[in-house]
């Protein structure tokens, strides 16, 4: 037996990801909550759920903050203690970690963790500006640096240091679009070719349209219990056996290295040690591919390959569905979509499906141990979680 279970996922829900016209964030969250309730008939949500932790990045999109209380109410959980966690694109990775703390402290038996973002009703320049708020204002935003721009700065550095190619980046996009085509909830369910990816228009050189994640609406949630009572709610729980989180400088420019995320490496180390698991034990992983280069760097930071070899890992198909270590079977942020606040728990949702044999056409054979890697901003926050089939 690997590390001790800290908390157990007994159910999970995910809204459709995409352009959800006419819906408000709280209404999308209600969709995710409803699925989680339906999956778990033995749960009495109003009676059993004792707290809600919800990731949500921006008030700007809907001119609406105070997401904890609002989401709790719309999920049918009026009066439960509810708070929003904000850590940019890892807001719900942080919510999941808060939920694990609530369970592991012994204070709560059953809690909900989730996330939500509604983005597509805004224009791309507006979204670009809102997303940039997760970067350094006085030295990055003030000088016109965007989110794609920050990851492009990492890509240029990675290409220069290791010889990573634009084609290797494109391989990540082709793989994730393929996986997305098998996921009925993905924002984009179409395959793309390498040529299409390579010839798409430039967003922030060397990153092109198909290197970027999507601007998406969506919500996700998980229901977690103390491990010893998980079987009361489901015969097939998934235990969380490792959690890690770290921070770094808000500005990319202040960091020693632009080709690796220190916070992700530190978070991974904590989670691996706690779970007593090694990178080679991971059967399936959801990593933060906000840009294709971020997935390549994630392979290296998580120890799936050596520094500099991430590009080749993608190119050789080692992370494809049938590869040595399938990564982003859901389609990732690239094809499933990236409603920023919802992403962390949406990654956990996919791992939950995989470890309980419910991932349908994208099921990884006999997946037992899974990992999620959720990055905020250009890497000033990272959370890593490790899961085992119960």
């Amino acid at each position: 037996m690997k590390g001790k279970p800290l908390a157990s996922i007994v159910s999970a829900g995910l809204s459709k990801f995409g352009k959800l016209e006419g819906l408000y964030a709280r209404e999308i969250f209600a969709q995710a909550a409803k699925e989680a309730y339906e999956r778990c008939p033995r749960l009495d949500p109003k009676k059993d759920i004792k707290a809600l932790f919800i990731g949500h990045m921006g008030e700007s999109y809907e001119h609406q903050g105070h997401t904890g209380a609002t989401a709790a109410d719309w999920a049918g959980l009026l009066h439960v203690p509810a708070i929003r966690t904000e850590a940019a694109c890892s807001s719900s990775g942080a919510a999941l970690r808060a939920a694990v703390f609530a369970i592991a402290s012994g204070l709560c038996d059953v809690v909900m963790a989730g996330g939500v973002e509604k983005m597509t009703h805004r224009s791309t320049p507006e979204v670009t500006e809102f997303l940039a708020m997760a970067s350094d204002f006085p030295f990055e935003q003030w000088h016109g640096i965007t989110f794609p721009g920050l990851f492009a700065l990492m890509a240029t550095a990675h290409m220069h240091k290791y010889g990573t190619t634009e084609a290797q980046l494109a391989h990540v996009a082709v793989k994730n679009h393929h996986n997305g085509s098998l996921n009925p909830k993905a924002h984009m369910q179409k395959e793309i070719t390498l040529e299409q990816a390579l010839s798409s228009r430039v967003i922030a050189w060397p990153l092109k349209l198909f290197d970027c994640s999507l601007i998406t609406d969506g919500a996700s949630c998980l229901i977690l219990t103390k491990p010893e009572i998980a079987k009361k709610y489901t015969d097939t729980p998934v235990h969380i056996i490792g959690t890690g989180q770290a921070s770094d400088t808000i500005g990319l420019y202040e960091r020693e290295d632009f080709t690796s995320l220190r916070a992700a490496k530190l978070a991974a180390k904590q989670a691996y040690e706690m779970a007593d698991v090694k990178p080679e034990d991971i059967d399936v992983a959801e990593v933060h591919d906000c840009f294709t280069i971020a997935e390549i760097i994630a392979y290296e930071d998580l120890g799936f390959c050596k520094p500099g070899e991430g590009g080749r890992l993608a190119e050789n198909g080692e992370t494809s569905l049938k590869g040595r270590i399938p990564v982003n079977t859901s389609g990732g942020l690239k094809a499933k979509g990236h409603p920023v606040g919802a992403t962390g728990t949406a990654q956990a949702y996919e791992i939950y499906l995989q470890l309980t044999g419910q991932a349908d056409k994208r099921q990884v054979d006999d997946a037992e141990i899974g990992l999620t890697h959720n990055v905020g901003g250009s890497g000033a926050t990272a959370t890593v979680h490790i899961y085992i089939r119960g």
């Binding site: 791309t124 320049p125 507006e126 670009t128 500006e129 940039a132 006085p138 030295f139 990055e140 935003q141 003030w142 000088h143 016109g144 640096i145 965007t146 794609p148 721009g149 492009a152 700065l153 990492m154 890509a155 240029t156 550095a157 220069h160 228009r201 430039v202 967003i203 922030a204 050189w205 060397p206 990153l207 500005g251 990319l252 420019y253 202040e254 632009f258």
Partner: protein, 136 residues
Amino acid sequence: MAEQTQNFTIEQFYKYVGQKKLMGGKCLNCGKVHLPPRPLCDKCLSTKFEWIELPQTGTLLTYTVIHVAPTQFQHLAPYAVGIVQLENGVRIPGMIKNTPLDNIRIGMKLKVEFEETPTAQQQQWPQWPRYYFVPY
């Protein structure tokens, strides 16, 4: 000057930019040069600093050309931004101007200039002047 710790701020950094100076805060205890300046040294937790003038030349560590820009910068796109390592090792991001975008290379030598007219205007706070980089 070392006693006025409250002055080692980002606001003051940009006031100096308005005077065409690139200034950093040097920790009087451990010697670390901070850009941006900070009121508390992240290395040794000291609060004693002095302003030092930073070198105005450096080397390009990495760059990108931004095509999809935020609202206030849309009129400039495509534009180049990079991270420059100044001669004393301090790193600073900024726009790279006065060069064909295709000529930009990692390792190229750049120097700091200060804008006469604002690159992009904010409606409200802040009204900071900008520095940028050009090849030399």
